[in-house]
């Protein structure tokens, strides 16, 4: 990984930095009749333990929030479907990032089976369609990791020290 960073770190960073603005959610709550900033905050706070529960990476979690926010800026969502949007975003993100993504049945169980499989699959398609399948978001997780490695490189640490940190 250290080798990768030295060889590709700078160029990946530049590409991701340019791409970042193409994936920024614009005023995601401006046109939402029911979803409030407070509700969004509650959902994100819920998604954090959920992604840990499935042992997903931080990258998946960040991507899920980005998918959710970008979808919110395109489509009004009813308050009672908002949690379904949260788990659907997490499912899409983990399919993108992880080797094994959570099963739909597990995700539904976490929502106390308030929704059906068909509803989730349907929403998955709607989200993908609204985002034109564009899922290559440069995430917070990427930038955090990059800057950490830059900092470590500056302080003259070697690969073994870095390995200890991660």
């Amino acid at each position: 990984e250290w080798q990768n960073f030295r060889e590709y770190g700078e160029s990946s960073y530049k590409i991701q930095k340019i791409n970042e603005e193409k994936f920024l959610p614009v005023n995601c709550l401006a046109r939402q009749p029911q979803v409030t900033a407070e509700a969004r905050c509650r959902l994100v706070s819920w998604l954090i333990p959920v992604h840990r529960h499935f042992k997903l990476s931080f990258e998946s979690c960040c991507l899920a929030v980005n998918i959710m926010d970008r979808f919110l800026s395109t489509t009004p969502v009813a308050a009672d479907c908002f949690q379904l949007l949260g788990v659907t975003s997490l499912l899409i993100a983990s399919k993108q990032v992880e080797v094994f993504s959570p099963r739909i049945s597990q995700l539904l169980a976490l929502c106390c089976d308030a929704f059906t499989r068909d509803q989730l699959c349907n929403l998955e398609r709607i989200v993908l369609s609204r985002l034109s399948f564009r899922l290559a978001t440069p995430t917070l997780a990427f930038f955090l990791h990059h800057f950490t490695q830059c900092r470590l490189a500056q302080s003259g640490w070697g690969p073994s020290d870095v390995a200890r940190c991660w």
């Binding site: 990984e1 990768n4 590709y8 160029s11 990946s12 590409i15 991701q16 990476s57 931080f58 990258e59 499912l91 899409i92 399919k95 993108q96 990032v97 992880e98 080797v99 993504s101 099963r103 739909i104 989730l120 699959c121 998955e124 398609r125 993908l128 369609s129 034109s132 399948f133 564009r134 899922l135 290559a136 995430t139 997780a141 990427f142 955090l144 990791h145 991660w166």
Partner: protein, 296 residues
């Protein structure tokens, strides 16, 4: 889907049926690839999502087919590609005469430019998020990268051989036989056994071929990936700079789909349409310029 009117069926790929269609609003002809999903239990499969992502990330390039759009449809989804008159296997199979050396060089240059372009792209997108452990995902990602980068060049070599020979270079009864020369170092190798095959000199496999062509072919068919020639280096190989020089793409044959054999040669690389203004059907000088400079 109602934005397109289907004009006909082009063929069937590994993942679904391909149709020729017209975008109703713009009149543009496109290829629609309908991908049906077999297992719907967990929604859209991640392989599909990642493939779409890879295609989307490859920017515009003359030598790489462009993914124009993608949308869910029925129980699967539809990929919208720019419409291509033919493909290379059709060219090899349907040519009335064997391809001339200059045409083979022309096709190889187009192929290598496309591969070189993908290669640049895949390297730039090699980043992988912070995984603390050397988890499977890292390995999986590696193999994902290697497809455009390394394995693809063996494939380039095989296509090159096929172009030289007008028949597959390593005809195997099935995939496993075809792979026998390539996979001996993989971990599961011993699970399938192969007959011991003495190597056949390449010169015998591709007879009547110039020494330079054989030299380049050998450079593609090297097992250790680091020693295999890079697409960008291959474009500078003497093979492309000796007589006969590579044919310009307007000189390459375009077979008609469905095996129609009439008036197939020397057509411009797109269709004329009476609905379009004449000036749109003229060859764009920019295209020729790009071709003349592209190899440097």
């Amino acid at each position: 889907m109602d934005q397109y009117s289907i004009l006909g069926r082009i063929g069937e790929g590994a993942h679904g049926i391909v149709f020729k269609a017209k975008h109703i609003e713009t009149g543009e002809t496109v290829a629609l690839k309908k991908v049906a999903l077999r297992k719907l239990e967990d929604g859209i499969p991640n392989q599909a999502l990642r493939e779409i992502k890879a295609l989307q990330e490859i920017e515009d390039n003359q030598y790489v087919v462009k993914l124009k759009n993608v949308f869910p449809h029925g129980t699967g989804f539809v990929l919208v590609f720019e419409y291509m008159l033919s493909d290379l296997s059709e060219v090899i199979r349907n040519s009335q005469r064997p391809l001339t050396e200059s045409q083979v060089k022309g096709y190889m240059m187009m192929l290598l430019k496309g591969v070189a372009f993908c290669h640049e792209n895949s390297i730039m997108h090699r980043e992988w998020p912070a995984h603390k452990d050397a988890s499977l995902s890292g390995i999986e990602h590696q193999s994902f990268c290697m497809v455009p980068g390394n394995t693809m060049k063996v494939a380039v070599g095989c296509i090159f051989g096929e172009l030289l020979n007008n028949s597959p270079l390593f005809p195997g009864e099935n995939d496993i036989e075809q792979l026998c020369c390539e996979i001996t170092e993989l971990p599961d190798y011993n699970k399938i056994t192969f007959k011991e095959n003495p190597p056949i000199p390449l010169e015998e496999i591709v007879p009547d071929t110039s020494a330079q062509a054989v030299d380049l072919l050998k450079k593609f068919l090297v097992y250790p990936s680091k020693q295999r020639i890079r697409a960008s280096q291959a474009l500078l190989h003497p093979y492309f700079f000796t007589d006969p020089l590579p044919a310009h793409h307007s000189e390459l044959p375009i077979p008609q789909l469905g095996g129609k054999r009439s008036h197939q040669r020397l057509q411009p690389p797109y269709e004329f349409s009476v609905d379009r203004p004449l000036h749109e059907s003229l060859v764009d000088p920019g295209l020729i310029q790009g071709h003349a400079w592209g190899c440097f």
